[in-house]
Amino acid sequence: MNKDVVIKCDSVSKIFYSSDKGFDVVKNIDLTVFKNEFLVLFGPGQCGKTTLLNIIAGLDMPTSGKVYVNNKEVIGPGPERGVVYQSISLFPWLTTMGNVEFGIKAAGVGKKERRKRAQYYIDLVGLQGFENTYPIKLSGGMKQRVGIARAYCIEPVVMLMDEPFGALDAQTRYLMQKELEIIWGREKRTVVFVTNNIEEALFLADRIVVLNNCPTSIRQEYVIDMPRPREYTGEKFLYLRKEITGNMDKTL
C-alpha cells in the first residue's frame, strides 16, 4: 500500500501579538498526514491545538511556514476540508436537515439532489427520524452527530475534528467514539482529531502525535497498531496509556 500524502505542514508557526508583546502559540510544526489515516493530535491545555487545526482549515493564517492539502497551498477555507467543532456549532435556527445541507446549498446544489445527499449522511450517523428537529431538542451526543453529518455532507477529503466529544459525559463519549470508528470505517477519510483525552486518542488513532503545551510543538509520535475495535481495559491499551501520559508536558 503506497502512502499518499494528503496534508503537509511545513514548519508552521503562529505568533499572537498583543500590544507590544508577541506570544508563540504554535512553533515549528512539521507534520505529514497520509491518505485515510486517523491522526490524533494529543496534548494538555488549551494553548495552540485549535489554532493549529484552524491553520490547516484555512480559517487562520500561519505567521510563518506553509500548509499543503493535496499538494495545494492552503490560503483559505475550501470544500476539500470539513470541520467538526467541540462546542455546539450547529446553526440553532436550522433543523437537522437544514444544518446538514447548509454547505451544499451554499454551493448551489439543487434541492432534490441536496436532500438525497443530506439524507444519506443523516442515515449514516443514525439520526433518521430527527430530520426536522431543531438542535435545542437534541441531546449532546445527537447534536455532535449532526455536526459530523454536516461536515461529511460537503464530501471533503480531510476531516478536521476539534475535541468534538469534549462537552459530552464519559459514557456518551464512549458511545460516540465507537460510532465515529464505525462511520470512519464505512466512509474512509483522512482525519485529524484533536483531543486531550488519552482513552479517546488510543481508541481511535492510527497514529498519535503528542504535543507540548504553550507553544504547541511536537513532542513525540506513536504509531498505534492495535487491532480494532479496541478494549479500553486491554493490557496493551493500558500500557500505552500509561506510557503516553507519562510522557506528557506537565507544565500547565
Partner: protein, 247 residues
C-alpha cells in the same frame, strides 16, 4: 454501630406528574465514608441530587442526617458542581472566606482555616487573585477549598472534574483524597465516569436507568494510592462497567 450512620436515605421516591424518576431508593452512608454514585447517562442523577439538597420536595420516603430529617439550616452540607461556582467579584481568599463569614467563624480561626485548605490545593500563593485570572482547574480547586473550609458534615460533589484533562484530574483527585482524609468529611461523589468512581470511592453505589433504583452496592477495598492499571482495579472497573453499560 447505629450511631456511626451519617446519612440514611429511606425509600426515596420522586415523580414528576405521572413520570416516576426515583423509585424507592434506600441506602446509608457511614460517617467519614467516601461514597461514589454512578449510573448510566440520563439516570435521574440531577433529580437525585436535588432531592438530597431539598431543592425538590420528594414524593415519598425520607432523608435523615444524624438521625434527623435533613435540614439545610441545621446541617452543614456543602456542594461542588461541575460548573464554575466561584464568585467572580471576590478574590480566591474572599471566596474561601465566604462560607466561614456566614458561619461567623472567629477571625484567627478563619485565617488558619483558609491557609490550611489553600495550602492543600496549592493555591495559597494565588490567594489575592480573582477567579478570572486563574485557569479552569485552579478555579475548580477554589470551589473545592471553599467547600472544605467550612468543615462540612456532608459534602456533595457532582462531577466536579468532568471537563478537565485526564492527567490533571488524577492530580486533583489525589488532592481531594488528602483533603477528605485530613478533615474526616463524609463525601457523596456523583459521576458518570466509572474509572473515577473506582479510583475514589470506599464504596460504589450503582444506579439503574430511569426509574432509578439502586442496582448494587460494591465495597472497594483496593488500597490507596490506587493504580488504574493494576489487575484488581481493572477487574472492579470492568465489573461496574458491565452493570451500567448501554453504549
Amino acid at each position: 454501630m447505629q450511631t456511626n450512620i451519617k446519612v440514611e436515605v429511606k425509600n426515596l421516591t420522586k415523580s414528576f406528574g405521572d413520570l416516576l424518576v426515583l423509585d424507592d431508593i434506600s441506602f446509608n452512608v457511614t460517617s467519614g465514608e467516601f461514597l461514589c454514585i454512578v449510573g448510566p447517562t440520563g439516570c435521574g442523577k440531577t433529580t437525585f441530587l436535588n432531592s438530597l439538597t431539598k431543592l425538590y420536595s420528594i414524593t415519598k420516603g425520607s432523608i435523615l442526617v444524624n438521625n434527623e430529617p435533613v435540614n439545610l439550616k441545621k446541617h452543614n452540607i456543602a456542594y461542588i458542581f461541575q460548573e464554575n461556582s466561584t464568585f467572580p467579584w471576590l478574590t480566591v481568599e474572599q471566596n474561601v472566606s465566604f462560607g466561614l463569614d456566614i458561619k461567623k467563624v472567629p477571625k484567627d480561626k478563619k485565617k488558619e482555616n483558609i491557609k490550611e485548605v489553600l495550602d492543600i490545593v496549592g493555591l495559597y500563593a494565588f490567594r489575592k487573585y480573582y477567579p478570572v485570572q486563574l485557569s479552569a482547574s485552579m478555579v475548580q480547586r477554589v470551589s473545592i477549598a471553599r467547600a472544605f473550609a467550612t468543615k462540612p458534615e456532608l459534602l456533595l460533589m457532582d462531577e466536579p472534574y468532568g471537563q478537565l484533562d485526564i492527567e490533571l484530574r488524577y492530580k486533583l483527585e489525589d488532592e481531594l483524597i488528602r483533603l477528605w482524609k485530613k478533615t474526616n468529611t463524609t463525601v457523596l461523589f456523583i459521576t458518570h465516569n466509572i474509572e473515577e468512581a473506582v479510583y475514589l470511592g470506599d464504596r460504589i453505589l450503582v444506579l439503574s436507568n430511569k426509574p432509578t433504583k439502586v442496582k448494587e452496592s460494591i465495597d472497594n477495598h483496593i488500597p490507596r494510592p490506587r493504580s488504574i492499571v493494576s489487575p484488581e482495579f481493572v477487574k472492579l472497573r470492568n465489573r461496574v462497567t458491565e452493570l451500567i453499560k448501554w453504549w
